[in-house]
Symmetry: C2
Subunit: 336 residues, 2 copies
């Protein structure tokens, strides 16, 4: 990357980012490290997520503000899933193709990306505190986002605590992000369809308040993670970490309106495998009394945790007639 | 990336990484976030560094163990430059070309990369606590490394404290990493030359002990950063952050033997602009008495901090006859 291009880009980022804030950022962009402070006795939660062109977004179909929003939302959702850890700071590493720094539309795209990132960052108190930039080896844009948060040790929700007999719960609705993506791609190809949907694919809402509220309900949630790769894949992670099996009731899955309008079969497939909904998937003791909504977000019981048995598949889905079918993970997989 | 390929790769990483250690890692790979603990009252230092094929390493010339070592060393060196922050955990995001997961030599390369990473991580107590993996959009491998450390607030060394009259100092020697790279590239092209040099290009040594020892000397160091982009570029960063100018004495620059043997002119160019030496560049009050070595590493005074004046260039280098020449940053630039 040209020195001038990069320097002006960084100056721009730096001028827009706070050097320090009251919550925990002591020193932001500009030195060898950022410096943060955590509340005495609290734990630090750290998560990193790649955001790769062609895999996590498409420059030709995602608006830049949406891409920036989604990049940060991935990390905020991980903080939510630990029990609503309070964000302290975000870090953004960008590998930029050389061509993007010399093209005016591409520079506008980058500016839009940063606007989307910063709007969400301000809303959740996760100031941009550092990162890195480099010249991408190929023509694609890629990013890595790091979120640092803090959480009271007693409030941590892990993936590993689900027990046989627990209910399986989900926040919000499923399948909306995948349905919106289908519509976006169809429009990019055919030029037809609604030009701007601002749904859960474009602007997913990290469930930080729900995660925190859930962690404050004493003894209710036994395990929690976010649905980023797809319900079937993320249920697999839950079963793996907790050493259990899960049966889902297909009829109980809360379908997002964008998915529901595609018909029952397609909607079910998107709800099970679509991914990127960034809802919280959690388990709660059979006796736990859960409100209908938490932090204004609906909660739905979608299944039951079972004992893992050799001859039974780990994941099953029961259809309306009560017949069980094996549920095969159909989403994405990546390292946490 | 194929689910099976990625899963086995992650399992492998996870089995080799500690779930927790005594120093501060409470929860490692496998959940939505890693959980860390910091000593009461200490600050958290966070740095992220991209490690891109073709820019920070070349698969055809760097041995995989060296690439893994260098990837982590970039971040450890940033912790060193803050005043020797103690590492708590490292995070590694890898964007892997699909082809690399289906080729046996490429899988061996990745295994070697991780071995190099882990050997350095063990040595400095920076356990791999998480990260992400994804399919790279192109044929190149790229990584982003995050280091989290802790530091006592009174021991922080910033880039912004240099004052006119201060001496400018450097640890170790300069130009070795660039000289070794030249030899490696020449060998890759011609097949001639020494087959394995294990010098500062292949295995740079992060100066954590020197950074910590320097920060413990009361009131000595006024500013500090690491030489990653090249002395001339990093001096520019120092001057920018401290609002000062600097004059370097060419004759005082400690030349690495690999650079020195290329003759005085080339050696000087590599020492000034080569980069990747990961030595610490710091300033100290004119009256400060510095030992010849700190944590067994030689210290050399290489110049003087000057007041910034409109008509004078910010960076100058004085040759053996005392004549000043403008020093133009010739290294790399990237966001910290």
């Amino acid at each position: 990357m040209g020195a001038v291009g990069e320097l002006s880009f960084i100056k721009n980022l730096r001028e827009r980012s706070p050097v320090r804030n009251r919550r925990g950022l002591q020193l932001g962009i500009g030195d060898d490290c950022a410096l943060l402070r955590v509340r005495p006795g609290w734990q630090i939660a750290v998560t990193t997520d790649l955001f790769l062109e062609g895999r996590h977004f498409r420059r030709e179909s995602h608006r830049p503000e949406s891409a920036g929003h989604r990049c940060l939302a991935r990390g905020l959702s991980d903080l939510a899933a630990m029990g609503g850890a309070t964000p302290i700071a975000a870090f953004l590493s960008l590998a930029l193709p050389r061509t993007m720094l010399h093209s005016v539309p591409d520079q506008r795209w980058i500016a839009g990306f940063l606007q989307g990132f910063e709007a969400l960052s301000r809303r959740f108190g996760a100031p941009l505190a550092g990162g890195d930039t480099g010249e991408a080896p190929g023509p694609e844009f890629s990013a890595d986002v790091v979120l640092v948060g803090q959480i009271r040790p007693g409030r941590v929700l892990l993936r590993s605590g689900a027990k046989p007999g627990d209910g399986v719960w989900i926040t919000g609705a499923l399948g909306g992000a995948a349905a919106e993506l289908e519509a976006m791609l169809a429009r990019a190809e055919t030029g037809r369809g609604p030009s701007r949907i601002s749904g859960p694919q474009s602007f997913p809402e990290p469930r930080l308040a729900v995660g925190a509220a859930l962690a404050r309900l004493p003894g209710v949630a036994t395990a929690c993670l976010d649905v980023s790769d797809g319900l079937s894949t993320d249920l697999g992670h839950l079963c793996e970490e907790s050493g259990v099996a899960v049966r889902i009731e297909a009829a109980s899955l809360p379908l997002h309106p964008l998915a529901a309008r595609l018909g029952p079969e397609r909607a079910l497939a998107l709800a099970l495998h679509g991914g990127e909904d960034y809802e919280l998937l959690f388990t709660a003791g059979a006796e736990a009394r859960l409100p209908k909504r938490l932090a204004s977000v609906p909660l739905t019981r979608i299944g039951t945790v079972l004992k893992r048995e050799r001859r039974r598949p780990i994941l099953t889905v029961a259809d309306a007639t009560g017949r069980n079918q094996t549920l095969t993970p159909g989403g994405w997989e990546h390292l946490r």
